[in-house]
């Protein structure tokens, strides 16, 4: 145990006294806790560069003062309770804050403004278990095997010092190939950038592009976390309505002012689940080309489509180097794999590389190795196939139950992909009561209110189904609807 105390003072006092004073102080301050074992004599002697005899003398001192006690055959312990009261009184947080009010940066002040919204969002997400994949389907055993596969000197020696701020090159290649075949993204490993934390994939483009006051066009309703992240850099939002084919591009075409960029979720609009039509995609890209506007394409929750035709991503269709494609494996491998990635337009690569050098010069090495193998050995796609069949059954059962029992009061307005349904409920009960009651029947609901920048209608909910047990589901849905109708 390494233990540092201060012996550099009052050189007239013998070293053992200074040591015992300092240890006593450490005990009083709580660095060493009552009942804990003392660091060994050997450790203290070598750590403090004093002789063992000196340490033993200091221990003697402390024992006399009843701060420590030695137990035969077991070692030396700190007395519990301590003699006298704990002395040191810390200044309270309020006192400290009052004497030093903290001057945050403008960014910091904007972040503080999100406090209430963040709290609401977290509360709501917790109600639906964050709408992630069910934990019991996490492929831990395989991951474990892959994670330790490369944990050897021989495997790492050449790579250890490589500076790879954009990510481990074979992983960039594996992901680029996967996105190409599964999502129709252009195969371009040199433009693919990996982030250790999936949220950073939006943070980096946001901070590189947005100055306070810049206007971002965003879907209404739309993903609240993106609003918070872009908003933290001072973006102003232009809320663009949706229809059955996705973002209303006609609205953008009529704008007289330019916007800095458009944030859009074409493969699975959050929260509605609408898939943007091919025609609409082309029209959006054409508008972006003409107006020289960047598009941030968030391909979140795009893996599970239940028979809907896959459409190529905007990135794959774009000819004008305008699309920033961002994604993660959140809905597939979270919380086990937390990396995020983006595929850039060529002209943004240089600035992003510079920003990465300032923020994340190295990424977790073993995780990157494991994910590379997980993709290249074919596990990713088989895992998606396997889970898709499980989710499809659960989704089908839920839809059947909702339509059978809820003809009168439940509407499923869109045909949707992903791991949740969007439902509209006609009921005389408040949203809060409906959510509570759903909890009683093992169902989870989250209001979509935070997805709306403008006023939201009550009675609209996200309803995740990935974790639902098919057994008894029908009965639970029936009971809950009975309540909603009552």
């Amino acid at each position: 145990m390494d233990f540092v105390i201060n012996l550099e003072y009052r050189s007239s006092v013998p070293v053992y006294r200074r040591a015992s004073d300092a240890i006593r102080k450490a005990i009083i301050e709580g660095r060493l806790k009552p009942g804990e074992a003392m660091p060994s004599v050997r450790d203290l002697a070598s750590g403090l560069q004093i002789s063992r005899t000196t340490v033993l003398k200091a221990f003697d001192d402390l024992q006399k003062q009843k701060y420590i006690t030695s137990v035969a055959g077991s070692g030396t312990y700190i007395c519990d309770p301590l003699p006298g009261e704990n002395v040191q009184v810390e200044p309270s947080l309020e006192q400290v804050c009052a004497s030093h009010p903290i001057e945050l940066s403008q960014y910091g002040r904007r972040v503080l403004e999100t406090a209430a919204f963040q709290r609401r969002r977290l509360e709501q997400l917790a109600q639906i278990q964050y709408c992630g994949p069910p934990l019991d389907l996490t492929p831990l055993t395989k991951w474990r095997q892959l994670l330790v596969r490369h944990c050897k000197l021989k495997a790492l020696a050449n790579l250890a010092h490589a500076r790879e701020p954009l990510g481990y090159p074979p992983l960039r290649d594996a992901l680029a190939a996967y996105l190409h075949r599964a999502r129709g993204v252009k195969y371009s490993p040199e433009l693919l950038v990996i982030f250790a934390s999936q949220q950073f994939k939006l943070e980096i483009p946001a901070r590189l592009l947005i100055d306070p006051g810049d206007v971002i066009a965003i879907e209404e309703p739309g993903y609240p976390d993106a609003r918070m992240s872009l908003g933290s850099h001072g973006a102003k939002f232009l809320n663009v309505p949706l229809d059955q084919e996705g973002l209303d591009v006609g609205y953008l075409e009529k704008l007289s002012q330019p916007v800095k960029c458009v944030y859009v979720t074409p493969s699975h609009q959050d929260p509605t689940g609408i898939v943007m039509s091919l025609e609409r995609r082309k029209r959006l890209l054409e508008w972006a080309r003409k107006s020289n506007t960047l598009i941030i394409e968030d391909d979140y929750d795009s893996e599970y489509r239940y028979g809907l035709d896959p459409l190529p991503s905007l990135h794959g269709l774009d000819q004008a180097d305008n699309v920033i494609y961002i994604s993660s494996l959140w809905k597939v491998l979270f919380p086990m794999v937390r990396m995020g990635f983006l595929v850039l337009p060529k002209r943004l690569l240089h600035p992003v590389l510079l920003a990465k050098l300032q923020t994340e010069r190295n990424l977790p090495l073993l995780e990157q190795f494991a994910l590379t193998d997980y993709i290249n050995d074919g596990h990713l796609e088989s895992h998606i196939r396997l889970t898709a069949s499980v989710y499809a059954k659960r989704r089908q059962t839920l839809i059947k139950a909702l339509t059978e029992h809820g003809q009168a009061c439940i509407k499923l307005p869109f045909e949707t992909a992903g791991l949740h349904l969007l439902i509209q409920v006609k009921s005389r009960h408040s949203d809060r009561r409906l959510i509570e009651e759903a909890g009683r029947w093992n169902l989870s609901l989250m209001s979509t209110e935070l997805y709306y920048a403008e006023l939201s209608e009550p009675g609209e909910f996200l309803m995740p189904f990935a974790h639902l047990d098919e057994k008894g589901l029908d009965e639970n849905v029936r009971r809950w609807i009975q309540f909603a109708e009552s």
């Binding site: 201060n6 301050e29 503080l112 944990c151 790492l156 790579l159 002209r347 990424l363």
Partner: protein, 514 residues
């Protein structure tokens, strides 16, 4: 299928020597080689795949191995296997993007060098019509990124890293294995802990309290997935363009860019053998928002901030309401003298932010960084971190928790400290014997490097160039200095030298100087 195609596929040879020592099984190597052939269109859309028999003969492996590789490719959608007619390369692009979307320049080999990457990224940037970047982005463009890449890769491995031979790979591996079992599924929850896995923060707080005399509770400990992110968060939250940040001169050069990226104007405060010259702070008349200091090891001199100055510094900070960033770099590796308690532990005004990482201990398997922040900042920093770095590498955090709680960390530091101390001593002896009058070695025994002054007819730059040609690790201390030009001062790394090769290294150095 056209005759041409048929001909071509008969001719198709998979260029692959199966590496039996590789960590990847043969079937995975084969799948990856075939995938490359498909991606570069050697095997084109609709082509028949070479048969199992042909490939198994070519590569000298069993048919079932080839079949396994085919299965993988099929699961990834590269090929389709049908009964009777064998395997075919699938139509890619999901039937929508059919023509020429993969341009040739998109097919760079995956292991392109990063220097080349940087250059090519820059040329693409300067050629294309540039995007209007934010003020932050424009500042980045002005900073020189080249300096980061200036060292050649062979020499890079010697700069400041620990000896890989000493990295506790097997212990780390078994901790990862223990922490990634099926029964651990319940630990994989979604609850948002932007500051990191709570048991890890407790373990790390306890370690800092014991070993560095830090005074904190685990609520003040923040875990980051990369070392650079610690400072990034601090800057983002506290610095507006134009704010003043004071740094050490000489000192750690990399942090200057980190502050400049946020538009800070830098003020250099000199350092001497007792660390930062605290008195000089009094003559600065601008308001200093943040002071960055590395009290346990000033780069490159290794000087320790004396206790007297520590108290003075804290008093100055209290009066001026300046946040101090204490970079506790290399505090684990001090070979003489007694380690001083951290600045954070002496502070009573809640103004010190303590920075640390385990880079020197667990490199390269662990890359996490740590902050201990004042209590008054915890709430604000939680909000900021929740916005963009909520998710940290999970199993690294699990494994590190055990690594600390089981006492392995401190044992490992003690063991390696003794080894590095011996290496340093041996190098110092050997240098003194070989170079006598012509070398002056800094007294500070800490860290992984020696600071030396060499008397030689060569100019510093000539010496460095010659050394680089011979792949001899010796570095200039110039980047550590703000404005002053130093001549004849160099950094010699010793951590990675086995004792047996020290004499050889010194002999080469001597030959170079002669």
């Amino acid at each position: 299928m056209s005759q041409f195609q048929e001909h071509r596929n008969k001719e198709f040879r998979l260029q692959l020597d199966i590496d039996s020592h590789s960590i990847l099984p043969a079937y995975a190597q084969i799948a990856s080689a075939l995938r490359a052939a498909i991606l570069d269109c050697t095997l084109a859309e609709g082509d028949n795949m070479p048969s199992l028999a042909v490939l198994s003969k070519q590569l000298g492996v069993s048919r079932s191995t080839i079949a396994k590789a085919f299965d993988i490719l099929a699961s990834q959608g590269y090929i389709t296997i049908s009964q009777g007619s064998g395997a075919k390369v699938s139509r890619r692009y999901m039937g929508v993007l059919s023509t020429g979307q993969v341009s040739n320049d998109a097919l760079l080999p995956a292991d392109f060098s990063h220097k080349a990457e940087l250059t090519s990224a820059f040329s693409t940037y300067s050629q294309s019509d540039p995007i209007k970047l934010s003020a932050y982005g424009r500042r980045l463009l002005k900073l020189s990124a080249e300096s980061v890449y200036s060292e050649s890769p062979e020499l890079q491995t010697y700069s400041s890293g620990p000896d890989l031979e000493l990295t506790p790979f097997s212990q780390w591996k078994s901790l990862l294995e223990q922490n990634c079992r099926k029964r651990d599924v319940s630990r994989l929850d979604y609850s948002h802990e932007p500051f990191g896995y709570p048991p890890l923060r407790e373990a790390y707080a306890a370690y800092l309290i014991r070993a560095r005399a830090v005074r904190c509770s685990s609520e003040q400990v923040v875990v980051f997935s990369a070392r650079e992110l610690k400072l990034d968060l601090i800057c983002r939250m506290l610095i507006d363009p134009g704010d003043c940040v004071a740094v050490e001169d000489p000192g750690y050069p990399d942090v200057r860019q980190r502050f400049q990226a946020y538009g800070a104007s830098l003020i250099a405060i000199p350092t001497d053998h007792d660390g930062l010259c605290v008195d000089k702070l009094e003559s600065v008349h601008q308001k200093i928002k943040i002071l960055y200091v590395s009290p346990s090891y000033v780069e490159p001199t290794g000087a320790v901030l004396s206790l007297e100055r520590r108290h003075k510094l804290l008093e100055w900070a209290r009066r001026n309401r300046t946040f101090i960033i204490e970079d506790d770099y290399a505090s684990e590796y001090r070979y003489n003298g007694r380690p001083l308690p951290s600045l954070q532990g002496l502070d009573r005004s809640d103004l010190v932010i303590h920075l640390s990482c385990l880079w020197k201990v667990l490199f390269p398997v662990l890359r996490l960084g740590f902050l201990v922040i004042p209590r008054s900042l915890t709430e604000m920093f939680t909000l900021a971190k929740a916005l963009n770095e909520n998710d940290l590498p999970l199993f690294d955090q699990f494994a590190l928790t055990d690594f600390i709680n089981d006492g392995i960390l401190e044992r490992h530091i003690r063991k390696t400290r003794a080894i590095y101390a011996r290496r340093r001593e041996k190098l110092v002896d050997s240098l003194k014997r070989a170079l006598g009058e012509n070398i002056q070695i800094s007294e500070e025994a800490a860290g992984f490097e020696l600071l030396v002054k060499l008397k030689t007819k060569l100019k510093s730059q000539e010496l460095l160039t010659l050394a680089r040609l011979q792949k001899l690790p010796i570095f200039s201390s110039q980047p550590n200095y703000f404005n002053s030009v130093v001549d004849g001062e160099f950094i010699l790394p010793f951590a990675q030298f086995d004792e047996s090769c020290i004499d050889d290294y010194v002999a080469k150095l001597r030959a170079l100087l002669a």
